[in-house]
């Protein structure tokens, strides 16, 4: 690992300051340390400050990058950004430091006789195009696949979709947002018929209560959490942390309520039971704007290859739903959820109080769940039953993990079943895509193929013989990597990896393509609150580094699809965005023109008549509402949202005598996902150099494990050796182990289970059974 700071004492002082800044940010929301931000700027520097969204999480903070003589010198929070108002977290401040890493991929590398050989990019792209073409000729178009990212820019995602679905004619395109947001998408579509949150971050300024569902916002969405804390201290707003583990978020909240993994399903239903039983239901809202439905149950968990599931929704009435909820009285649920009757009633009373505004926040805890779609539906049920939705300070809000999981993966649609507007199964949507892409309608297949997990299973089976990954590191981030690493090493599949740094995924590649980093190219991201943000290229990348969008275009041209990609290298971002905007024309999803995005620090869609729509489905704010009522859930044909009957079902693997602990995995504030960028930023790497396994002190005592001792975490799939962490950053409940997944040297995903939600196909990284031994 490259370290540019040689003076250890100076470095430690820097770390001490950073620790204090992080602590201060938790205690004093909105706090700014401008002097410190600009401390590293050389005297007399004449910096050119340019705006961009942050490279890392889905909050989408605005940053200002100071450049001089073609180098990025400093980063500070953009005070004009409505998202972060000048504030940044530790990752945000230091993001550009990774660009200079000594092991940066600067040229294409092609594996020849087992060795990587530096190769001119043009030649490497010839190899990729020829191999892809040859694979299609020999094995058919469904033998090639692309796996992209919620960190791809909007133009990158768009050309990948057009290339695979419009040019080649295969739906073998999926992305790593499948691993983080697919349940949110499926939840929105089943409940509302339209993806993405109806509210925006301004809800924070209006809510009386924030209820976070399995969501450690203090570490994962620190700037938003800071904004919540500001409202806590200014207006007395309350934060309720509802989780399976005590974290920094819990300690900063007004109340921390812990539940047994998987029982969130039952508790959400118990809250609905209480709302109805106590007469807290908003009858007129429900009667006017909601339908009731149920779907199939006992769906399985997708553990077997080629698993298929299709839900069969059927309409029910309110009485049937009320009857169903009788299995979820607080008294019954308390028995297995480990949440007291009092606490369940307390949560229900918050939602049920007509005079309190409530926002529910969640991210991976609810999405990475074998019943993730159901869990999303259930929280929507709570808000729909009480009518607390689509109003300032009232609403369910699914937070995103990646910076453009919304903008690229969801809006552009880089999933196997998606198109830039709508889904491949819908003829009207296929016809629109064919028209804009200028391809024959018949070329876009009507059937989805492989979602992320199944795509890598297909690589293992030998069904996929060519795969190109961009902006992602699946051999660290997939569940059950112990199966998928050897799969990608097989000779049966030609692997192309496009990335900025070497990773365990690029280690198995046949061709490595050198990608431009964030500010070395122009681009657009879309954040959690439907805000699209543009940035201009600020610095040149080293060597032959090239934007992923342009590499895709070059390969498409080499394969004979040049007429579909008539973009210029200089202006391709603008040209692609203008083409893409056509998909979303209209009041329901209109995107702002590029000239507006260039001026503003982001614009929320739907952008109608020069104005952002902050609260969708509410006629007061949303010009797309047309039913003459106060609310119009226009994503559904009848304009009504759906309250779903979804039961509690257990996790596929639960602790037993041999594997007595739950394993929960997640992130830490210092690192971005698999650590390929942040572990190359010395200050962040030194602050959190390796992964660890958190235990409850009583479990540690029973096992004779002391803090820092090496322990082995083993599941039925694999094992991982890590240092024990007891009573340090987080505190799991008894019987639970928590391990962050950022460390490629401690591969916890060798241990996790590749079970997924049958509807969304999103894997569950939060629950499997493990044993723990001292080594």
């Amino acid at each position: 690992m490259y370290t540019s700071i040689t003076d250890r004492r100076k470095f430690i002082k820097k770390m001490a300051i950073l620790s204090a800044m992080t602590a201060a940010a938790t205690m004093f929301p909105g706090i700014l340390f401008a002097d410190e931000q600009e401390e590293g700027i050389p005297n007399g520097a004449n910096l050119d400050w340019k705006k961009a969204p942050c490279r890392f999480c889905g909050v989408g903070c605005g940053i200002l990058v100071g450049t001089e003589n073609g180098k990025a010198i400093a980063v500070k929070g953009d005070p004009n950004s409505a998202v972060n108002k000048g504030l940044l977290c530790v990752k945000g401040y230091h993001q550009t430091m990774c660009i200079q890493s000594k092991d940066r991929l600067t040229h294409a590398l092609v594996k020849k006789n087992g060795q990587y050989v530096k190769t001119p990019l043009s030649e490497a792209l010839d190899i990729v195009a020829n191999k892809m073409k040859e694979t299609i000729q020999k094995h058919g178009k469904d033998a090639v696949a692309m796996y992209t990212s919620g960190q791809s820019t909007i133009p990158e995602g768009y050309v990948a979709s057009k290339f695979m679905k419009g040019a080649i004619g295969t739906n073998n395109l999926d992305c790593n947002a499948r691993l983080c947001m697919a349940s949110a998408v499926a939840g929105f579509l089943t409940s509302f018929g339209a993806d993405e949150p109806m509210g925006c971050y301004e809800d924070i300024d209006h809510a009386d209560y924030f209820i976070t569902w399995g969501n450690n916002m203090a570490e994962m969405h620190p700037v938003l959490f800071s904004r919540m804390l500001e409202q806590k201290s200014r207006r007395g707003a309350k934060i309720i942390d509802f989780a399976t583990r005590t974290t920094r978020s819990s300690t900063a909240s007004d109340r921390s309520i812990l539940f047994e993994p998987q029982t969130d399903l039952a508790i959400a239903n118990a809250i609905c039971y209480e709302i109805i039983n106590n007469g807290w239901i908003n009858k007129s809202f429900v009667e006017k704007h909601c339908n009731f439905s149920k779907g199939l149950t006992n769906m399985g968990y997708g553990l077997e290859d080629n698993y298929k599931f299709k839900d069969k929704p059927s309409t029910i009435d309110f009485e049937a739903y009320k009857k169903f909820l009788e299995d979820y009285t607080p008294e019954k649920v308390a028995k297995y959820s480990k949440v007291s009757v009092k606490d369940i009633k307390y949560l229900a009373a918050i939602y049920g109080d007509p005079n309190k505004k409530v926002v529910s926040y969640w991210c991976m805890g609810m999405n990475q769940h074998t019943r993730g779609t159901w869990m999303n539906n259930l929280v929507y049920n709570i808000h729909l039953l009480t009518g607390k939705i689509s109003q300032p300070g009232n609403g369910p809000f699914s937070l995103t993990g990646q910076p453009s999981a919304c903008g690229t993966a969801r809006e552009v649609g880089t999933f196997t079943h998606k198109l830039p507007k709508g889904v491949v199964t819908n003829e009207k949507h296929r016809r629109l895509a064919a028209k804009i892409w200028k391809v024959p309608y018949e070329r876009i297949p009507a059937k989805p193929t492989y979602h992320a997990t199944e795509m890598f299973r297909a690589v293992d089976r030998g069904d996929i013989k060519f795969i190109w990954t961009q902006v992602t590191n699946p051999l660290v981030s997939l569940p059950k990597t112990g199966r998928y690493r050897p799969a990608m090493e097989k000779d049966s599949c030609f692997v192309v990896v496009s990335d900025v740094f070497p990773t365990p995924t690029s280690d198995v590649a046949d061709v490595i393509l050198p990608a431009s980093w964030h500010i070395e190219k122009s681009g657009l991201y879309g954040n959690s609150e439907r805000r699209t943000q543009h940035w201009d290229k600020m610095v040149d990348g080293p060597g032959e580094t090239t934007p992923d969008a342009w590499m895709t275009i070059e390969v498409a041209k080499r394969m004979g699809y040049g007429d579909l990609f008539p973009y210029s290298e200089e202006n391709h971002v603008e040209e692609i965005y203008n083409e893409y905007r056509q998909f979303h024309e209209g009041a329901k999803h209109g995107m702002a023109p590029l000239e507006v995005l260039k001026k503003e620090s982001g614009v929320i869609w739907p952008y109608v008549n020069g104005k952002s729509t902050q609260w969708r489905f509410n006629a007061k704010y949303d010009p797309a509402c047309s039913n003459g009522e106060n609310f119009h859930f226009y994503g559904k044909p009848d304009g009504k949202a759906v309250i779903w009957q979804r039961p509690y079902e257990p996790a596929p693997e639960v602790p037993d005598a041999t594997y007595p602990f739950w394993l929960n995995t997640g992130r830490v504030i210092e690192h971005w996902h698999t650590g390929s960028m942040t572990r190359r930023i010395p200050v962040l790497h030194k602050a959190m150099p390796s992964a660890y396994a958190e235990f409850h002190p009583e479990d540690a005592k029973a096992l004779g494990i002391r803090n820092g001792e090496r322990i082995k975490v083993t599941s039925r799939r694999g094992s991982c050796i890590l240092p024990a962490s007891i009573n340090e950053r987080g505190l799991p409940t008894k019987g639970q182990v928590f391990v962050p997944f950022f460390d490629e040297n401690m591969m916890i995903n060798d241990v996790t289970l590749d079970a997924f939600c049958p509807i969304s196909k999103e894997p569950d990284y939060k629950k499997c059974a493990v044993k723990v031994e001292k080594v």
Binding site: S19, A20, M27, A34
Partner: protein
Amino acid sequence: MPIKSYLAHPHSGKKNELIEALSSIEQCEVVAAQNKDVIILVTETEDTNQETILKEKLDTIGSLKLLAMVSGFNTPQNN
């Protein structure tokens, strides 16, 4: 060679006075928040004995309301 960081909270209206007082101490480095009444204080002393003496000195600063330690590191002297 202990290095420690603290959040220093001034008495009401005494932030600038506290910045001045802390900045005048050789072993102290100060980063003041731009928009809140809190100051980051980083102390760097030769050994625990000197650290104790420094702590006593800090306790005499009238504008200091509360000093909350955030992190502590100890490094070998020759680094």
